[in-house]
Amino acid sequence: MHDATRTIKTAYLARVEGEGGMLVRVKGDEIEEVKLNIFEPPRFFEAFLRGRYFTEAPDITARICGICPIAYQSASTQAMEEIVGVEVGGQLRALRRMIYCGEWIESHSLHVYMLHAPDFLGYPSVIEIAKDHPEVVEQALRMKKIGNEVMQVIGGREVHPINVKVGGFYKTPTKAELETLVPELEWGLQASLDTVRWAATLDFPDFEQDYEFVAMVEDGLYPIDRGDRIISSKGLDIPISAFYDHVAEEHVEHANALQGRLKERGAYMVGPLARYALWHNLLCDKAKAVAEEIGLPKVVNNPFKSIIVRSIELVEVFNELLRLIGEYEQPAEPSLDCPPRAGTGHGVSEAPRGTIYHRYMTDNAGLITDAKIVPPTAQNQPQIEDDLKQFVGKFMDLDHEELTLRCEQAIRNYDPCISCATHFLTLEIERT
């Protein structure tokens, strides 16, 4: 067998958002090739944003991804607000953070229980888990529903919310409307603590990597809705306007998504592991305490344990929502006036799956002349390919089916969003 070429291949990877596959080609003990194929069709957002009015960007870019529209709405509004010279602060900013917390709850509980957990529990999907353990799935759905309700109350609906605009919101909720969410949020906080304890009992492959973790800086808060700098665990510390000075986007033949690499050091990781490694100190006391209770170190280098860190982030955002609702006072005006202006603006936020970067240029009439969007999965792609290479190298003796499943799991560790990235997956492991 060690002389034959072995191919590990999944033509169409399931339980990820969007379309992609993977191919690993092994000859003897040598890994010849690792490819994350992204065949999600190109949709050309950056091209057709040109000529659109600047206030249209939040709604148009939301359509890049049905899973994390708020990530797009937050980064694009931040960029446009920079251009027009408006700072959204106070309770309007708090509402932006609240709706983003809702998106994290919806996305993280979907990924933890419905997309990632089946790999650990040996089921093809949550549908089969529901047959054996309906109470687990009922809890997952109830958690996810709370996230969606937060998005509905503040944003109008969970997929492509309609209430976020450049300068603020169309209409702000009353304190009483937000307070209706409190009992379920209190239940969700307890459920998320239980989720951390459950996730800690799963079996994890012995696999650690020396990652460069990258995440944004959000003045004294765990990074979620808006950043002004980007830092890394290996010394990167830049204002967001310098993003393209440090990150190169490459176009490779096997992917309709551009791959992001640091010019200085190559592949890097964004997402829950990165945020946790860099900003553990800013987690709420409950999140810190449960991490300590399960013995989780302050830096997690095993990507399979991202399911635990995602659960800790669920604790964080349930707690954060309760805090923000407690402090909320309805603002006098729902938005600030934003007359058009020529300029360049940058926006960064932390999508559930990692840092997202936007840059726009506008003319005097407020029309967009250039748009650049770098989604999290595009940045994680080179690191995912490297994880696969290292993982197959270490676990080459596993039988084909088990190795294929584990490689798929290694990709799902990143909660990849392929719809975003092409703006990504099929597993093929070829062994010769």
Binding site: Y12, L13, A14, R15, V16, E17, G18, E19, F39, P41, P42, R43, F44, E46, A47, F48, R52, Y53, E56, D59, I60, R63, I64, C65, G66, I67, P69, L110, M114, P118, P124, S125, V126, I127, E128, A130, P134, V137, E138, L141, R142, K144, K145, G156, R157, V159, H160, I162, N163, K165, Y170, K171, E250, H251, E253, N256, L258, P334, E408, S419
Partner: protein
């Protein structure tokens, strides 16, 4: 299990939001799963059951040569084919490329245009195969999706009301943004289904559900003109999430 109706869910060019709407039916999902067999749904499961399928949901538009072929295969395997969302029913936001040059678009976004295999147009599913039912919206209304699935499973005709967003505003008691505040609302020409969502948030409708049956787009455009909207702004309003749907397409061309 083998006797339960088989449901398949397919993705073409799209954002995943409409198929995600199915997973967002938290209250109905477990009950629904007890009544059907999920035979193909890649976003949710790696298990696959061969066709034919009793009900097929299709999300997304056709933008690549591979999709042209795949939709034919999906149709052949499907007894009832339901398209969900603006991409599948009208070509979606990516149909903005139908009004431009794909080569130019590819050059803007990609360093190696030769790696990209994309058709000149983004087209609705009905341009390629016979569609049995359509649910409009960017995204669809998940309650309409559940109602439609339940109707189909019960063998009755789904109740998807036609008419405009205006009618939903009246039913919801939302005061008129166009008449009352002179705002450029698309409600008079936009298909109902959202429950007057935007107007109830003090936001004029922006047409994400696409055109209603027989919309009077010209009359609305004339009114917007009186309100001071530029020709370019009118063109853009019709040419966004459902811009390739004939009624909106033709109106946008009149203002281009």
């Amino acid at each position: 299990m083998a006797d339960l109706p088989k449901i398949s869910v397919w993705k073409f060019s799209s954002c995943d939001g409409c198929q995600l709407s199915l997973l967002h039916c938290e209250d109905e999902l477990l009950a629904l799963l007890g009544r059907v067999q999920i035979a193909y749904f890649m976003e949710a499961t790696r298990a696959e059951v061969a066709g034919p399928y009793d009900v097929t949901l299709v999300e997304g538009s056709v933008t690549t040569p591979e999709e042209v072929e795949r939709i034919k295969e999906v149709r052949e395997q499907s007894k009832l084919l339901v398209t969900i969302g603006a991409c599948a029913t009208a070509g979606g936001i990516q149909s903005l490329k139908n009004f431009a040059s794909v080569k130019e678009y590819t050059d803007i976004v990609y360093a190696h245009p030769e790696f990209i295999d994309s058709l000149e147009t983004s087209t609705p599913i009905s341009d390629h195969v016979t569609v049995d039912l359509e649910l409009q919206g960017c995204p669809i209304n998940k309650k309409q999706l559940v109602d439609t699935l339940l109707a189909v499973l019960a063998g009755r005709r789904p109740n998807v009301p036609s008419g405009s967003v205006c009618r939903e505003c009246k039913m919801a008691g939302v005061s008129c943004l166009l008449v009352g505040k002179g705002e450029a609302c698309m409600g008079p020409v936009t298909h109902s289904g959202c429950g007057a969502l935007c107007p109830s948030f003090d936001r004029p409708c922006f047409g994400c559900y696409g055109p209603m049956d027989s919309p009077n787009t010209a009359s609305l455009a004339a009114r917007w003109n009186e309100l001071g909207l530029s020709e370019d702004a009118i063109m853009r309003a019709f040419r966004t999430y459902n811009g390739y749907q004939p009624a909106f397409r033709e109106e946008s061309i009149r203002h281009a």
